[in-house]
Subunit: 348 residues, 4 copies
């Protein structure tokens, strides 16, 4: 236990911060010893400063941590960030300048050319951008990011198609309410309802997968050259984003080829057996009515992306359904896996 790496969380009292606390409470490599939040919470016990919104109860080991202000100072070298977008730029930058490794779930730096936007099974090599970032910005630390909660399952599900030349994809998301934080979506808005809009979501879904699926060329990533169109919707689901996807390819693999590519898809996290890595990152379900967010989302600790219903598309080449747990694989769990990847690379 004493050899675990001390870590901190920026924005620890919010919903994503609480997910960090839960995932890190029993982590074999990392030990959560520092929680940062607003000046208003600083000095209180985490258990007092935080209204626990996740299912179950707050881990006891976290409840007794004293909340610090989000300033570098005595935070551990490795900090996870779930800062709100309006504060993340300044604070994450301050930490990176001060030598911290900021593993961030915030959107602010995702699309910067020298910031890795990582899905470890897909583009672990993009992590090399951290050197570019340090060189260019003069930082001793750095910032690495994970993608938006829809972009993660979308990029992962499309990864096996990449070698056939992805040229276009259209997606419609049916997103869980937990993605909006707390209090987030009002129950008056979503009970027995669909909200066909999520502010700021579609641009992220249309941009981020192209960077994730892009190729590292020297000091930057050449985005995947594909057209993307997204329709984002909120549905009455607690956790788990479900996506329908139609995709056009340059080459024309058979169904069997594609299915094999999907089922055999693995990455560094699996190879290195990283603690948060699911045994199989893409699980293809053969039942025609799966995957489903409530039944499948939480499996394997929420880190697996599920696919189903792969079938020809009469307009593009293939269409399918995919599903990812938005607060785990699409947020806190993604960041933890990113940190595990860095550790396995000797970067911490």
């Amino acid at each position: 236990m004493s050899s675990r790496i001390e870590v901190g969380v920026l924005g620890a009292t919010g919903m994503v911060g609480q997910n960090f606390a839960r995932l890190l409470a029993d982590h074999p490599w990392f030990k959560l010893t520092w929680v940062g939040a607003s000046a208003r919470s600083a000095g209180k016990k985490y258990g007092e400063a935080t209204s626990w919104r996740l299912d179950g109860v707050m881990p006891e080991s976290v409840a007794n941590l004293t909340v610090s202000e989000c300033k570098p100072g005595n935070a551990p070298k490795l900090v996870f960030s779930s800062m709100d977008a309006d504060a993340a730029t300044e604070i994450e930058q301050a930490f990176a300048e001060a030598g911290h490794i900021v593993v961030s779930n915030s959107k602010n730096f995702r699309m910067e050319s020298d910031v890795p936007l990582l899905v470890p099974e897909v583009n672990a090599d993009h992590l090399a951008l951290i050197r570019v970032q340090q060189a260019r910005r003069g930082w001793k630390g750095g910032i690495i990011t994970n993608p938006n909660c829809v972009a993660v399952p979308l990029a992962m599900a499309l990864a096996p198609f990449k070698k056939y030349g992805i040229t276009k994809f259209i997606t419609t998301s049916m997103q869980a309410v937990s993605g909006a934080g707390y209090p987030g979506v009002a129950s008056m808005d979503i009970l027995g309802n669909v909200i066909p809009y999520i502010g700021g979501e579609e641009p992220k879904v249309e941009e981020e997968p192209l960077k994730i699926l892009g190729d590292l060329r020297g000091d930057h990533v050449v985005d995947l050259n594909a057209k993307v169109s997204a329709h984002c919707n909120r549905v009455a689901v607690v956790d788990g984003h479900t996506l329908t996807v139609s995709v056009e390819l340059t080459e024309k693999p058979s169904f069997e080829q594609l299915l094999s590519d999907i089922e055999n898809f693995r990455g560094l996290p699996q190879e290195r057996k990283l603690p948060s890595a699911p045994p199989v990152p893409l699980v293809y379900m053969t039942e025609n009515n799966r995957p489903q967010p409530r039944r499948d989302g939480p499996r394997d600790g929420g880190m697996t992306v599920f696919m189903g219903r792969l079938r020809p598309c009469s307009i593009f080449d293939w269409k399918f359904v995919c599903l990812g747990h938005n607060t785990i694989r699409g947020a806190a769990g993604a960041a933890v896996l990113n940190a595990e990847l860095m550790q396995s690379e000797g970067l911490l």
Copy 2:
């Protein structure tokens, strides 16, 4: 009152049949005097034979009708049909042969070349196929059909685009549970969940709009020459199907032109002020999070199709959201409007 046209309902005890009963209970032109159901129910009062599943209670005027078997005999000339697919072919045909006008919500005859698949605002002229049908089949009566509950709002929403040359459209549906009848979708399957599959639905959604939007050429309809791809999903909504749509056009109208076309879209039902016609068949909502099934679906008696979020699509030309009430505009209400159209044409 005495001058109202007597009508019957085939399959009156099911969910769609109950919707017919509700819509016809106070209809200004039609008087429900005959209800047909299975031999098991025949002879009972409708109120005894039927477990009322709709909100509210059974209209009293209907409760006292005696259920008949689904045989022509003494049924009124005009009968609405909500027969199950496995029985509809034989029974609807028997009624048509016997001189009845069968206004059917069943899928069985929809794609027959001499059967009108009507959305009165879109293709009222297809009603002329009834003459072809009678000539070809030697029927004194005839069968006219309304489309599937997703095809209706989809075809209506696309109707204003038709003049610009629709070449492709992709849609993802988020469909209400009422579309599956009763008991239909198990609560264990849909509470807090999405089911990414509805048996037999996608082929209907991909075929029917092409016939609806097609052109009558002599004795048949030339389908719209467009490619369609559909992803159908069930969500935890009681009534109202929400669709995302991306569409490619030959011509390139401006946003203003399209919006004007949508907002000014009217048809014969509006011109003739048919009793079930909504004042405006396509209502475009400018709020970015509308339409919504729970808040908008029931407006105007459930006969309006709502659109929103019309915006450029980075792959095709335009994308938008649309919504229709599946058990009204997508089922019983559609059939009633079809009958009203026929009456206004002097065909009853």
Copy 3:
């Protein structure tokens, strides 16, 4: 139209205020001409100042009213109040002093001894307290209140039992989210869940029915001498509060007597055919699984209270289920009916 009485609404932009706007938009006796809200909204059009949260869309006639500050001045004599509790005392008092009749849904004055807490079918005679109020407080106007949204159906359902001597009743409520206003209950809290607590609710449910069912004695009401215990819960329902009730009586009527008392229960609103009065205030449903909030709550404009499952209680005498629409009969609709009662009494 010109003879309709001009009315205003205090706190018009909130959820209850919006319900007032909807109910008053087409009222045969009242004409909504004045809407009051916070200083921040004052001067704007109601349509701009208000985010419409109810199903459907804002009535056009209301959208164009200019919002005023909540000060007496040029408001109409009759004002409905849906002020928040923290502002209601001061503002309602200011209006009453200035000669306005304040028909309030706010809780602040409900339990004052000289303020009528009205359910017009149950205790219309309590309206006489308005004279006591004016005499004692020196007001030219006055304040009359309607009860809490659980207390209304509870008191109405118990009213027919009163003549048999109610000595104890225990109730458990399953309350809709609309009762918490907007944004109110977070979807993360209620999807697939029950919240066994509603702040401040149980004391109201335990106190208010005793005043409603009490007897006017000169200048005050002698409360019903019964013990009450309430358990209040929030469930995933949009509108409609469902209550289970067990009640002990001094006398021992038969089931048939009680059922007859319930079914024949009527009040002044029915006798005088007040515009918002339901034809039958207590509707007893004989199906063993009714009433249900989604299916029954909205019937008759939301003004009916439904009962069902009357059966012996092995501890007290009788137990049953009852249901009321919380935002209509339990809030705005209750206040409108109170104003109609006052008008029918010549008090406006």
Copy 4:
């Protein structure tokens, strides 16, 4: 592993049977080797005969078992039963006669005077009835039962009150849909709704706790001498029954005494550290809005009963909220714990 006790499941393909399969797939003491179902399923692999309805997927170890008919023959000595009520009497009796220990979740034998109705933390001594049963009926085996899914948390929550003399209790349940099996409750019935009735439930809730909390006297149990009244409701929750309870006591303990009794409540399962025993059987939550079924029900494997909001009742003495996971602690998990108790007593 080889020393694990072989067990079977009667009615293995239904919902409770699936829960048995899930709980037994990795059990440290028991090894599921035999699954019984209807003649129609017999001979098939369990994985083929069963439509898996639980969240996640079927355990692989179970999928390959071959389904047998529900006849004694070569079933293991210990069988769990989740037979439907209409078949349970005959089949369970046949197994008991043939020397099997039938640990049953079915209701059929629960109230027989010589059949233990067990909650191991509450009345483990009632297990002695198995001797009476064997003597009286001439069975080599026997039947032991667990209570109804509402009776379990109710009896457990009341157990600490027993020493103060329980004389009356009233409860209202808000029950999850999983209690009705599959397909069970239609989504049309429960979405955004409450159903104030569950067929056959209230009598069980009123009877079973009295036997559970009763005292073993020689060859039978003397029921607790208390009056019970229950109101049972279905709500839109997947798993977890929430109950409000008001209870009258002969003695008058203080809040502190009661709270201490609740928090220190333990039983044989805890003492003996039975594999399915929760560390603390009654967890009292101090937050005023807890417990909640979605957030708390699944904790500790679904075997804990949660309580909250203990406060004085103005009619009886105390009132509170309690919660149990209906398919685990209220069904399959209860039976597994019963079998563990028997094993720890040397009865297997």
